[in-house]
């Protein structure tokens, strides 16, 4: 039965998304301690597009980029699937005295209202969603919540990185090594640069600029155009 297969496949996908969440819950404290500094590409984006209004750090981890947004935005949301990572974000916000509202959720089904976000950073997160359908859903969801004149920076790990030989996008797992030496697998979809642009072009987002930097694909995008 096709319906049974669909249900089976849906269960499998949910399980894989939960795996990513559980992995980050497990490695949260160590992971956050190695993510001290904001990425220069994100600093440049925030400098260029910072504005009053609502900022969103989608896949915020320890909130290092929410911290950048908090300097300009009226309010900032830090959003992540992992409760453990959100708690490291809360610790960082307390230590460094910046304000962030934390939400636990799934990047492919955002619990945020249409046009509610003025500037968003969605870096190093998209590649953890296990299927192209989920990745595409998350880009459409970002388009829905981003105001038409809002801007977002999207990044994903790419085949252009030195550690990969492939020229086509592929699924893989990348080990995280805990301080005791214990390895923990994390799911990644490694994007070919043209595949990344094609997924953005097929989404409801409007692609404004794209670039490769430090083995990552980057794109600056705008929200969906109003319909009707």
């Amino acid at each position: 039965m096709a319906g049974d297969q669909d249900r089976e496949s849906n269960r499998d996908e949910v399980a894989r998304r939960e795996d990513v969440r559980d992995t980050y819950d497990r490695i949260a404290t160590h992971f956050a301690s190695t993510r001290e500094y904001a990425w220069p590409e994100v600093e440049a984006f925030v400098d260029a597009h910072a504005r009053d209004g609502v900022g969103l750090d989608l896949g915020c981890g320890n909130c290092r980029h929410a911290e950048l947004l908090a300097a300009d935005c009226e309010s900032v949301v830090g959003f992540d699937v992992s409760r453990g990572l959100l708690e490291t974000g809360r610790d960082r916000a307390r230590e460094r005295a910046f304000a962030v509202e934390l939400i636990q959720g799934d990047a492919a089904t955002l619990p945020l209202a249409e046009n509610s976000v003025d500037i968003a950073v969605y870096v190093a997160t998209l590649h953890h969603l296990p299927t192209r359908a989920a990745r595409r859903d998350s880009l459409d969801e970002l388009a829905r919540v981003l105001s038409p004149d809002g801007r977002a920076l999207v990044s994903a790990w790419s085949t252009a990185h030195d550690r990969f030989d492939a020229t086509e996008g592929f699924d893989t797992t990348v080990e995280w090594t805990l301080p005791g030496g214990e390895p923990v697998d994390r799911f990644y979809h490694i994007y070919a640069p043209d595949e990344f642009e094609a997924d953005l072009a097929d989404s409801d987002l409007a692609l404004r600029e794209s670039a490769l930097s430090s083995g990552n694909c980057y794109a600056t995008v705008a929200g969906a155009e109003p319909t009707g």
């Binding site: 939960e18 969440r21 959100l86 939400i103 636990q104 959720g105 619990p111 945020l112 209202a113």
Partner: protein
């Protein structure tokens, strides 16, 4: 979470508004309670000040 966050939150499933129920406060922070969808009735828990708005099929308890 601040109660004002409700202005931009919605149900992850059907995108309808959420209502805060059984809220526990610590000063101006909402630290506990439920966010309930005004359309489908799904309740999303606020756990130690952080709303858990994962879709219900991803929400089950994380293994320790």
């Amino acid at each position: 979470m601040k109660e004002s966050l409700l202005e931009i939150l919605c149900c992850p499933l059907d995108k309808h508004d959420l209502e805060l129920e059984n809220a526990d406060y610590d000063d101006e922070e909402v630290v506990g309670g439920n966010l309930v969808c005004t359309e489908c009735g799904e309740a999303y828990p606020i756990e130690d000040g952080i709303p858990n708005l994962l879709p219900p099929d991803m929400r089950e308890e994380t293994p320790a």
